[in-house]
């Protein structure tokens, strides 16, 4: 099973030429990248079939004749379920896999109970609201006696059916992934290895023949140091890519093999959340789900899900169409939690966990090629998220199940994993499923947001009601094409001279510019209480224990530093969920990988295209190690 070969050191991303260290090779039957909900669905379905003694003769390893198929999954995070998110999901696909699912067996899981959609007014007066929205706010407040008004919020009386999650589950995906992982590993049929980032897919022509694991024992630039160990080549007839929306392997395939015509990834959001232990006297029922919009900025959506044992997930989504160069999700989250409607529940609570994640909001328009010779894509990175219903976990899970069913069929029929065969089994199942049908309805439903929040909401409603037949708004443009300069964004609020002074002062003091700008824009200082309202740095320690093992190269690289020098916005710094990117020497951002939570927001928030007309930005987000050490998200 194991072999070695002399290292071929031509990979520009590792720069290990001349090291002369052997790179090992291993042959298996299926190699998987990333362990999230999609891979959970894939490995659960596969391991059940492989564990069935009656089916053992049908499935034989090609890599190890006489043995059952060798299925390996490599996960970047240092344990399963680290650094992912809490969700509310209809759980149709998950329940299909687990018909007798008892939520009480999964920590933090509970059936969905009371659901509300709330519009939040701005109680501090700093939110950047349009004149029309301000008028609407005044009108609503004037006639609040006609509305369900409570503590600067109104409950939307009618919520479209497609937004509801009735019969679903409130989950911690971290805990759910750990629960699934324990079962698939306990079967003995598959192996899931955490703490092992995959560097890239091994592409030969149009065929993927396996993956290369990340080099260990390198300096920040990837040059070999003491204890250098080249990442192993794991070769397999089938490579399953489920590394999420910003995963390096999925994006590599997009670049090398191309996206389908007309497909692109231009609609994103960064979700930032906290898991909070609520006060003893908070009587919110487990399963309570609040969806909010309108505050802290009109474009920012928020949520609060109540778990059992008086715990709650609270978070916001900062979208790529929010035309602000100051996108600091952490500080916005703090203002969000302090909104009176939510603060009555959260005040006195304790931070248990914290995290952030990029969401691919392009839906089916961001769908890559789903399969090819020797490879298949599943999960969020395969464009499965339904951007109308705001649902991704169940869809991702289902795509994993569909692929597993296809793989089992091909094994039974003794057919190879060619594009044609995977199209006929996996892709055909997916095209015939509810994931596809509902994804088509949702495909263009968010286009209205390109023109603003109100148009966007209207567009979603119309798309939902008409089954996706009518949509508002233009096709999205790449985020960097619509990011305004600081001067334009603050025009009329902060004079250019003052803006320049604030920039200089912040640079001289070594403090984040976005904090100073938000202060100046009227956002009140956060009254740190040391248990829930804590500094961003303290959140890294208290809410996630962000760590990175030594001996790996930096995974965030600013490809052309000269572009950074002239960049006035530097959104990579303000949006960085872990304060891992700061202003460095010569006005080029500096990256500290020990603080990175791998949210990937820097990738799509960069305002500088790599080249004129390019969809790529100046930030390269490579494979890396470490991240959050919390499975409560």
């Amino acid at each position: 099973m194991f072999s070695t070969k002399e290292i071929l050191l031509t990979d520009p991303t590792t720069s290990t030429e001349g090291a002369g260290v052997e790179r090992q090779t291993m042959n298996v039957d299926v190699v998987c990248v990333g362990f999230g909900p999609a891979m959970g669905g894939f490995l659960t379905t596969l391991s059940r079939a492989l564990s069935d003694p009656a089916a053992a003769s049908a499935f034989q390893s090609a890599a190890m004749p006489g043995m059952p198929p060798q299925v390996l999954c490599y996960e970047r995070a240092e344990d399963l379920g680290f650094g992912v998110s809490g969700v509310v999901t209809r759980a149709r696909g998950i329940r299909q896999t687990f018909p007798d699912l008892d939520p009480s067996q999964i920590p933090m899981a509970t059936p969905v109970g009371d659901e509300k959609v709330l519009y939040l007014f701005d109680p501090v007066g700093a939110s950047r609201r349009s004149a029309g929205l301000k008028v609407a706010d005044r009108l609503a407040k004037t006639f609040k006696f006609l509305l369900k008004y409570d503590l600067d919020a109104i409950e939307i009386p009618f919520t479209p059916e497609f937004l509801h999650k009735k019969g679903g589950l409130v989950l911690s995906i971290g805990q759910f992934n750990q629960w699934v992982g324990a079962q698939v590993m306990g079967s003995g049929a598959v192996q899931v290895w955490p703490g092992t980032p995959v560097s890239k897919a091994l592409v030969e022509g149009k065929q993927v023949v396996g993956v290369r694991l990340l080099d260990q024992g390198t300096d920040k630039q990837g040059r070999p140091e003491a204890g250098f160990m080249p990442g192993m080549d794991v070769r397999a007839p089938l490579t399953v890519v489920g590394d999420g929306p910003v995963g390096p392997v999925g994006r590599q395939l997009d670049e090398e093999l191309g996206m389908p015509d007309g497909h692109h990834r231009r609609d994103w959001a960064v979700g930032c959340k906290m898991v909070v232990s609520l006060r003893d006297d908070v009587d919110l029922k487990p399963g309570t789900v609040l969806h909010t919009f309108g505050y802290p900025e009109p474009e920012i959506f928020g949520f609060m899900y109540v778990h059992p044992d008086r715990m709650a997930s609270v978070g916001i989504f900062v979208p790529s169409w929010m035309d602000s160069p100051v996108r600091t999700s952490y500080r916005y989250l703090q203002h969000y939690m302090m909104h009176p409607y939510l603060w009555r529940y959260l005040k006195g609570g304790t931070l248990r966990s914290w995290g952030a994640k990029t969401l691919l909001e392009s839906g089916m328009r961001g769908e890559p090629q789903l399969a090819g010779d020797g490879w298949a894509r599943i999960g969020e990175g395969s464009g499965s998220t339904n951007v109308l219903t705001g649902s991704g976990v169940d869809e991702a899970w289902s795509t994993g199940v569909q692929l597993a069913e296809g793989v089992l069929q091909l094994w039974k029929e003794g057919k190879p994993f060619t594009r044609e065969n995977l199209d006929a089994t996996y892709v055909a199942r997916r095209r015939a499923s509810w994931v596809e049908a509902e994804g088509k309805v949702a495909e263009k439903s968010r286009d209205g947001f390109q023109r603003g929040m109100v148009t966007g909401l209207l567009g979603m409603a119309i798309a939902g009601v008409t089954g996706g037949k009518i949509n508002l708004g233009p096709e999205p443009v790449a985020p960097h094409e619509r990011i305004p300069s600081l001067a334009d964004y603050y025009a009329g609020r902060i004079a250019p001279e003052e803006l320049e002074r604030i920039q200089k002062e912040s640079a001289a003091r070594g403090v984040p510019l976005h904090e100073a700008l938000m202060d100046r824009a009227g956002w009140p200082a956060i009254p740190y209480d040391g248990q829930l309202l804590v500094s961003h740095q303290d959140a890294l320690l208290m809410g996630g224990k962000v760590q990175a093992p030594g001996g790996f190269a930096d995974h965030v690289v600013f490809t052309r530093p000269e572009l950074c020098k002239d960049c006035g916005e530097k959104i990579c710094i303000s949006v960085c969920s872990g304060q891992a990117i700061t202003l460095g020497e010569g006005s080029v951002p500096a990256f500290d990988r020990e603080k990175c939570v791998h949210c990937g927001a820097c990738l799509w928030n960069c305002s500088q295209p790599l080249e004129k007309g390019s969809e790529r930005t100046n930030v390269e987000f490579r494979a890396g190690a470490g991240g959050l050490h919390s499975a409560q998200n």
Binding site: D79, P107, Q191, T196, Q216, M229, G510, Q547
Partner: protein, 269 residues
Amino acid sequence: MSTGYQIVVCGSIVPDPLQSLEPIAGPTGPALKNELMLPAVIDPWAGHALYEAANLAAKNPGSKVWLVSLGPKAKLQQVMMAVGQKVPFELVALDGPAGGFTDAHEVAAKLADAIKAIPGLDRSKLLVFGGWESASRGAGATLQLVGERLEICDQFQGVDQVSAVEGGLEILERVEGGKHQVSVCAGPPAVLGWATGSLGEPRNNPQVGMANMRTIMPALQRATAAAVGIGGIQYQSVALPTQQRVTRIVKDVPADEIARELVEWISQD
């Protein structure tokens, strides 16, 4: 005939000590709040012992390393997927309670029984390794009690280094004043409770992981329930290792100045 050592490392899993750990009164005694949701790791002190054991074994051909671990089976399985990639070992798993505090005598009895039951164990080659205390909980007495139950007289605690020398093993133990006490032991059997040792955490090696997996999964499948922490003991009090954290962000401060401040801060206590 092989001249290698048979090194048995006692290393159980604990909630990651970097997490916010909060003792609470559980139905069967003291426990940690939401322990099941917290990430588990091999006890860091025991982790050092395991890596040192593998290092010693690698330097002495014919040696073998076992890891005897007591913990809830599902969590053990999870932790082994991380630890299993580090160094070669054979797992002996004991299915323990899902959480809470356990008595060192109870745990030591189960660990000693498990060690005695390892097939082919040769007492004349036996080195029992472990952490000299627990990073999350534990009285710091378990390993000594294991040694006593195995009737091993040569015990060393706070070990930072062991090396095979003429006439036996040279062992460095931590003593007061930042110094080491150097002892020479005639050889196995001996018990070594490790401090940090001198090795860094080994790299993840997929080949090692695949090789270990051949024994890890069968060991987990045949793990029997270890009846510890099921009552009969009254705890007067429990405590976690104290942690104190102060965060301050500074830029452009020389390393010497930071070191001076750290020494000053530590000296305050």
